[in-house]
């Protein structure tokens, strides 16, 4: 069973972040810190710099420091299992944020408390579904993948590709990694647009690459939104603004503001409530129809 959590006035909580090299992660970290500060808790924050192995070591050092709860944003599904198990053994409840761990090896409600976050496969599927409805005859897709081997890249590709295949009539002419980065995304888009001038849809696995792709389109003398539809995931302010401007056609939100919900869940557990095994964020969807209205709320 998941270790119990005493009810106390203040807690020492650990937050094991996986990396902080993109705006999304930074927003997530800030949200966690802000909430901990608001509640007056002591936060032990670690950054694994993109290494699953280091993240396990980080969790171990939290255990050594005797934290009450561990919030873990696991970098990967499988390698973080030892961290979850070590915490369980040490009597510390773990709450997973934004990515989960391998369900065949660790179970919510048993080995860790719960998972809070979005479903990356679902994000890819949602954007694909929008495309199927709104393609207007466009059909040749360039896909800008996230960092090779990372789970959001794999899942966002899986969800999208499967849905597109099922719908039929579309062709993914090229799919290459842009490392979730604007500059790399732009360079890759520039090259792919040269090799495939007939492409009329670009699907980027995050906002940064989408912005890069828009720059590439403009440099190639094409009009994003008209000649080429740009689709993205994350839904940060800059991207939603781009939807308003008509440069991005649609974007699925993947909200990084985990702080309030994470700490609320923890307190509910301390009070003795049973926690559902999975808490899915309700992520918004922006397209021309709602972007202007929602812009102010975008993160």
């Amino acid at each position: 069973q998941v270790p119990k959590l005493e009810q106390k006035d203040t807690y020492k909580v650990g937050f094991a972040q996986t990396e902080s090299n993109n705006p999304w992660r930074i927003a997530q970290t800030n949200s966690m810190k802000a909430e901990a500060e608001k509640l007056g808790y002591q936060l032990v924050y670690t950054d694994a710099a993109g290494s699953a192995a280091k993240q396990v070591a980080d969790v171990n050092s939290m255990i050594a420091q005797g934290v009450d709860v561990i919030f873990l944003a696991p970098r990967e599904e499988k390698p973080l299992i030892p961290a979850v198990m070590a915490a369980k053994k040490a009597g510390i409840p773990v709450i997973l944020l934004d990515r989960s761990v391998d369900p065949s090896l660790a179970k919510a409600g048993e080995d860790y408390l719960t998972f809070i976050g979005s479903n990356f496969v679902e994000e890819g599927r949602r954007i694909a579904e929008w495309l199927v409805k709104n393609a207007n005859g466009k059909s040749k897709i360039i896909e800008l993948e996230g960092t090779t081997g990372s789970s959001p890249a794999n899942d966002r590709k899986k969800g999208f590709d499967e849905a597109i295949q099922a719908a039929g009539g579309f062709e993914i002419v090229a799919s290459q990694t842009g490392d979730f980065a604007r500059d790399k995304g732009r360079q890759v888009a520039e090259a792919l647009l040269q090799a495939h001038p007939d492409a009329d849809i670009i699907y980027a696995h995050n906002d940064e690459m989408a912005m890069g792709a828009i720059a590439a389109l403009e440099a190639a003398g094409k009009v994003p939104g008209k000649d080429v539809l740009v689709l993205s995931i994350d839904g940060g302010k800059e991207a939603v603004q781009a939807v308003v401007d008509g440069k991005i056609a649609a974007v699925v939100e993947c909200n990084p503001r985990f702080g309030p919900k994470a700490f609320e869940t923890m307190l509910r557990y301390a009070k003795g409530e049973t926690i559902e095994p999975m808490i899915i964020n309700d992520d918004k969807f922006y397209d021309a129809s709602n972007a202007a209205a929602e812009l102010a709320d975008a993160y």
């Binding site: 902080s20 032990v44 924050y45 939290m62 255990i63 960092t147 794999n154």
Partner: protein, 327 residues
């Protein structure tokens, strides 16, 4: 001087640097012990050793490579690839995983040796290329994602279990270091490695089999990286094709902080271990410092502090060596 004291005699500026790194290591441990609760708890010590044994292994191989005047940038990629191979083979038998991973590392090492000695391409470039190739191969055979190891074949024992109260990976690293020390100090081939680092052409003229020795050194480095990959897979239950980024720089820094010159020709196995532990300790200290809550260090400050720490260590070392030289 009494023969018993001979090993501790300070004869060269390298010895001084080695003394320096030991002092720094003890200083840092003392700092941690005084400042943080539970810093010297067995939990922290054991998990520290379990995790960092991977880096220690890689640093050992790197030490040998650097002593020859070379460099091996491929170790991180090799470890990542080896972890995938080990994970894929682990369902058969734990030994299949262990040997398979080491063989994968060995293969990259052999390739490095070939490119460097037969194609005569500089180690920096040769191993830069094999680093890319190792990552590529790892991703290909892993199909771009982490590969679960078998939890039934006993493979995870290697990385996760203890023996006589100490983590098995730490035992492995210890054994490797003892072996490494023996080779470097007590076997002719160790002397040859040092002489080659002193000057390849000269070593050849003195009748040493330079190419063969160099190839062996890269092979050893690759194999140790493969072993680190096996531990990676076993300890974390997965082969990870994207792990290992920056490990080579960590290893190089460990070796250099251990008083070994990148120009080759001198170096010490023991000091390399101390160097690796010292640099790893910085991460551990930073984690504890964050826990104090006095200052909440962002990840950014952490890298600034790590850089500054490295700076302080190498500058101090340089000063010590300069003073020794002028004395």
């Amino acid at each position: 001087m009494h023969t018993l004291l001979r090993p501790f005699a300070i004869k060269s500026s390298g010895d001084i640097a080695r003394l320096g790194v030991l002092l720094a290591l003890f200083g840092l441990i003392l700092f941690g012990a005084l400042r943080y609760d539970n810093f010297l708890s067995s939990y922290n010590i054991l998990s520290f050793l379990r995790y960092n044994s991977m880096f220690a292994l890689i640093a050992l191989g790197m030490a040998f490579v650097i002593i020859t005047g070379g460099i091996d940038l491929s170790v991180g990629g090799t470890a990542a690839m080896a972890s995938v191979v080990a994970a894929l083979l682990s369902p058969w038998h734990w030994a299949a995983g262990l040997l398979g991973g080491m063989a994968a590392g060995c293969a990259v090492g052999a390739l490095n040796g070939f490119i460097i000695t037969k194609m005569r391409i500089q180690p920096f470039i040769a191993t830069l290329a094999t680093m890319l190739a190792a990552y590529g191969t790892g991703l290909l055979i892993a199909n771009n994602q982490s590969v679960s190891v078998s939890y039934d074949s006993g493979f995870t024992v290697i990385g996760q279990d203890d023996f006589l109260g100490f983590p098995i990976p730490a035992w492995i690293a210890l054994a490797a270091y003892i072996l490494g020390w023996l080779v470097l100090e007590k076997l002719p081939v160790g002397r040859h490695v040092l002489a080659i680092g002193d000057g390849e052409a000269t070593a050849g003229l003195m009748g040493l089999k330079v190419e063969r020795t160099l190839a062996a050194v890269y092979l050893a480095s690759g194999t140790l990286a493969g072993l680190a990959g096996v531990i990676l897979a076993s300890q974390f239950g997965a082969g990870q094709p994207t792990e290992g980024v920056g490990w080579e720089l960590f290893a190089i820094a460990s070796v250099v902080v251990g008083g070994t010159l990148l120009t080759g020709g001198s170096g010490s196995v023991g000091a390399t271990l101390a160097g690796a532990l010292l640099l790893a300790m910085v991460f551990n200290i930073l984690n504890f410092e964050n826990g104090l809550g006095w200052i909440s260090l962002s990840a950014y400050w952490q890298s600034v502090i790590r850089g500054a720490f490295l700076l302080v260590v190498v500058v101090l070392q340089a000063k010590l060596m300069a003073r020794h030289r002028s004395a």
